[in-house]
Symmetry: C2
Subunit: 220 residues, 2 copies
DNA sequence: TTACCTAGTAAGTGATTACTCACTTATGTG
DNA sequence: CACATAAGTGAGTAATCACTTACTAGGTAA
């Protein structure tokens, strides 16, 4: 993460034993932040919703900002580094699957994860869009960690002749653009409570084949 | 728009002659809302930035919310209804182009428009994500107006054999997902000051052909 | 018991919030 | 000019904000 404060909050959020009231605080904060946004949620509201005095929140979390971070950070740290390892495992193994199969399992896996943590996902997206400081911390982190690994995987599949003959950067850019749009639209704009198999399959076909009719002779 | 308050604010924002101070207020509001978000910008800040007393803002706009709307509404009303008419014009004319050409001119045109209004675009996206009320007003409006027209166009091209043999709904869903991701990532996440021709061309190729290597015999 | 720690509380704190109001100044218009 | 209307002001306002502080209660260990 390359950020000491972030590290401290993250390890504390994961390791520290929480009291009942502390859990209630986090639960209420998640629900309220997801619904109304961080800036539009007051600490008084969180206190009331979790049946706790306002002082208790500050005893445990110090500031409202740190409360937000102890909600967000465990999620993002599980969202990304996981991907790195799993990606390599899934592609570089000997009994390699096709790129389409790889993409399918990746999407399904992450859809499941985000479905289980939809409220926190909503908070993360909202605040990355809204709070510049958070964007400036999280975006470079994501951009520095994900692309390199992803690129390797893409290059591997391209060498096997499965992918279009384009630089991995370009492939990645468009893939991330589409997947980003997919997750944000399904989990944030429309609060779809389950993304169907069919929809996932349609998305995969779109990524693989695009919109052009393969029978069409007017190629190029 | 189907909303009387919205209509009133929109027509007033467009038709009413503005004083110098009023223009300064709107300019400063746009800049501040885009940078820090609506919720994190106080009317006092706007007043100071535009060299005007706070009272003046409320004299003209009544509430902070109405000020936001008079910034946003002219933009969205120009972003969408335009598309409807132009879309039909561009596709249904006799000397019809290919779908790829249609897509190219659509993207280039809207990239230009958003580039010219990037700050307002940022405000709109931020507040749709953040303010539930706005999302609930604007999203149904967009969903009710755009898909029907778009669908017609897509069906036209599909009948010509240019597009994959899928229902227009499904094609549209993935296309909108990608284009949404494209605009948001380029104009909001990365504040790209000009989206290059090359990047647009890559996006078009992705939408048309997907990622699969056409020479690959492992089709299906 | 004594001493100490942690969890939790209730009542504050000053600063900031969106908004109001009584008022002055400018701009026409008959 | 006289008078009306609109534009603009700045000092308020109550409410709300994140955060603090002095405190109690209960468990633990020497």
């Amino acid at each position: 993460m390359s950020n000491k404060i972030f590290d401290a909050i993250l390890t504390q959020a994961i390791t520290k034993v929480k009291t009942e009231k502390q859990q209630k605080i986090v639960e209420s904060a998640i629900q309220l932040f997801a619904e109304k946004g961080y800036s539009n949620t007051s600490t008084a509201e969180i206190a009331k919703a979790s049946g706790v005095s306002e002082g208790t929140i500050f005893k445990h979390y110090g500031t409202k900002d740190k409360l937000l971070l102890s909600v967000i950070l465990p999620f993002v740290s599980e969202l990304f580094p996981y991907m790195a390892q799993e990606l390599i495992k899934k592609t570089m193994s000997e009994n390699t699957t096709t790129f389409e199969q790889f993409l399918r399992s990746l999407i399904k896996d992450r859809v499941e994860f985000v479905t289980e943590n939809r409220e926190i996902f909503q908070i993360v997206v909202k605040e990355i869009v809204y709070k510049d400081e958070l964007k400036k911390e999280l975006l470079p982190y994501a951009l520095a960690n994900i692309p390199p690994i992803f690129k390797k995987v893409l290059e591997e599949f391209r060498e096997r002749g499965e992918l279009v003959d384009l630089p991995a950067d370009k492939i990645l850019k468009n893939l991330v653009t589409f997947l980003g749009g997919f997750f944000v639209s399904r989990f944030l704009l429309i609060d779809d409570f389950n993304v169907s198999e069919e929809e996932i399959e349609d998305a995969i076909q779109f990524v693989m084949n695009g919109l052009r009719n393969p029978q069409n002779n007017a190629l190029e």
